[in-house]
């Protein structure tokens, strides 16, 4: 039993240079220590950053690894959130058990979308728009679904909690911080492992040239299906977290196209297909938004939309200056070798 396990472990660490390992350990230590250092406001910002890092990593599996551009990831987010929140409010079932229901629901939804798209050879821009269509369909559908309170929204009971109840995910920011930190670390490890697995290599082959991959004997349909389902399943936890962190769910918000866009901006800014791109992108974007917000307040400017304009301009500048994202040039600067070409 131990031999395959150590083999797996050595495969996980293979190719990670001493330098990157040291850097990783330092970053992780900083993250673990953060709640003792930063104040409540910064901790909330860090929670949001990690939430985007996690969701971005999930999206990255589908787009960054397998090359399937999804612009409707809000559907998996929303389904995850709604399944867990409904089980919690209606039947008193905790979020971790709820997650066991949310994951198959989201994966099944991904399977349906993937099956229809790949079977009928909907690809490229058309595929992206199909994913938007399904997310919009779900948004309007949930808006009229009385079982989940339709457009008036689903609320989770909010109380002041004397102590953190991890099992029911009710408590203060520090608990949520560690939960999402653990999830993000898990997602990174999962992606790292996937990239070094057979499936991961097949995904990269499909991303680079689908026809060649098929010619080489890869069952592209099946592996694209895996990509969508894994990505959807991983995303669903982001939805569960969203529901229990914000304590409310509105179809207009959780399924909206802006949720989907939010999720994918991080990995695109950070670097699509890289392991640390989604995390770095989440930092850059959320950090930027928060800095702009506090900067505007500091200068006494209270113009609705002004922050967003700056945000848009920054996005524009990044995409013009760094078409491959922030991470690849940064990794080169730091002397780290990325496992990407």
């Amino acid at each position: 039993m131990t031999a395959p396990l150590t083999a797996h472990l050595s495969r996980l660490t293979a190719g990670v240079s001493r330098r990157s390992a040291a850097l990783l350990a330092a970053v992780l230590a900083a993250f673990l220590a953060a709640p003792w250092i930063v104040n409540d406001y910064l901790l909330t910002v860090l929670i949001i950053i990690l939430y985007f890092a996690y969701a971005g990593q999930a999206w990255n599996i589908m787009m960054g690894f397998a090359g399937q551009l999804s612009l409707g990831h809000a559907i998996y987010l929303g389904l995850g959130g709604y399944v867990a929140a409904t089980l919690f409010t209606q039947f008193g079932i905790g979020p971790w058990l709820g997650l066991l229901a949310a994951i198959p629901v989201a994966a099944a939804c991904g399977a349906v979308i993937g099956f229809l798209a790949f079977r009928f050879r909907v690809a490229g821009v058309y595929f992206a728009i199909l994913t938007i269509a399904f997310a919009e369909f779900a948004r309007i559908g949930f808006d009229h679904l009385d079982f989940v309170n339709a457009s008036s929204g689903l609320f989770l009971p909010v109380k002041q909690y004397a102590h953190n109840d991890l099992w029911r995910l009710r408590g203060g920011p520090t608990m949520f911080y560690y939960v999402i930190l653990a999830a993000t670390v898990f997602a990174c490890l999962l992606c790292h492992f996937l990239l070094r697995s057979r499936v991961g290599y097949f995904w990269l082959a499909i991303r680079e040239d689908e026809q060649a991959a098929r010619a080489a004997g890869i069952d592209t349909f099946r592996y694209k299906m895996y990509a969508v389902m894994v990505s959807a399943a991983v995303t669903s936890f982001a939805g569960v977290f969203y529901a229990f962190f914000y304590n409310n769910l509105f179809p207009e918000q959780v399924f909206s196209i802006s949720r989907s866009i939010e999720i994918i901006l991080g990995p695109i800014i950070g670097g699509v297909g890289t392991l640390f791109g989604p995390i770095l992108g989440a930092f850059v974007l959320t950090g930027l938004a928060e800095t702009l917000n506090s900067g505007m307040t500091a200068f006494g400017l209270d113009l609705p939309g002004a922050t967003q304009v700056f945000y848009g301009i920054c996005l524009l500048l990044v995409v013009v200056a760094l078409p491959n994202g922030v991470w690849p040039p940064l990794a080169r600067r730091l002397g780290l070798i990325e496992d990407k070409k």
Partner: protein
């Protein structure tokens, strides 16, 4: 419900759908030639809507008179945008183009929000409450004018692509990019012209749209999505297809609003989109793209 209610609603839907079709035509032209999906399409329409609202409020100019000037302004906007910003991106991956245009959309929507505030603004023309009656049929005059203007504008664009040399050159670029370069066409210039024409379409559609809906800065995303739905339903790159798709979606939304609930109407539009993508991915009038 009596039959003439359905008929009235359907005719209203057709007329609105013609304006939708003109808007979507802009997206279709841009994608068909430049191969960039304009994710800021709805936002470009909101610009045109606010110019129309402003010109009406300040100068008392009727949107029907403003049609050509606003289309011209939007043409310049589109031309400059393609030349200055989008052109380097045409060979880059789709997600990079997506990010660029989403950034642009965020900027446009929020600049409009800063200038005009979040309130809805409408145009009250002398014919806003007029209607035409033919037998049991009663239709809003504003919708009739808007639909007719959309048809005229589309016809003019169609003639331009069909009969002028520049139009032919643009079609050549769309058919075969390398071939167009080989015969010495200035593809960069033609792409910019095309983007300008697409923007002019959406500008004209926006000008007509103020007769039908109120303008708010945040209208953009839903109209961008609507344009996608229409264009894919009709067939990307097909000009009659965009118009047909517009009418189809316009009627579907109008009837769905009547039979079910107005808030669920776009669900039917997306339902049509999914069916078309699966069973006729090239669209109703489109040619299969490879």
């Amino acid at each position: 419900m009596p039959f003439d209610v359905y008929l009235n609603v359907a005719v209203g839907g057709i007329l609105t759908g013609l304006v939708y079709g003109l808007m979507a035509l802009g997206l279709s032209v841009i994608f068909g030639v430049v191969r960039v999906v304009n994710f800021a399409h709805g936002e470009m329409m909101t610009i045109a809507m606010f110019i129309a609202v402003l010109a009406f409020a300040g100068l008392h100019l009727d949107p029907l008179i403003l049609l050509i000037p606003i289309a011209a302004v939007m043409f310049v906007f589109g031309y400059v945008l393609q030349r200055g910003l989008i052109n380097p991106f045409i060979t880059r991956p789709e997600h990079t183009q997506f990010l660029l245009l989403v950034a642009l959309a965020i900027i446009i929507a929020n600049v409009l929000l800063i200038i005009f505030g979040p309130d809805a603004r409408s145009v009250q023309t002398s014919y806003t409450f007029d209607s035409f009656q033919a037998g049991p049929l009663i239709v809003d005059a504003a919708k009739v004018y808007a639909g007719a203007a959309a048809i005229v504008f589309t016809a003019a664009l169609f003639a331009f692509f069909r009969f002028t040399l520049v139009g032919k050159a643009i079609r050549a670029c769309a058919d075969n990019h390398t071939g167009a370069l080989v015969v010495g066409l200035d593809v960069k210039q033609l792409y910019a012209l095309t983007f300008g024409l697409g923007a002019a379409c959406v500008g004209a559609a926006g000008t007509m749209m103020v007769l039908i809906v109120d303008a708010t800065p945040m209208l953009g995303p839903s109209y961008t999505l609507l344009a996608f739905v229409i264009v894919i339903t009709g067939g990307l790159g097909s000009m009659p297809g965009a118009l047909l798709g517009g009418v189809l979606i316009g009627v579907t939304e109008a009837l769905a609003g009547l039979l079910f609930t107005p808030s669920a109407k776009s669900m039917f539009a997306f339902g049509i989109l999914v069916l078309v993508l699966l069973f006729r991915p090239q669209g109703l009038l489109g040619k299969r793209l490879t």
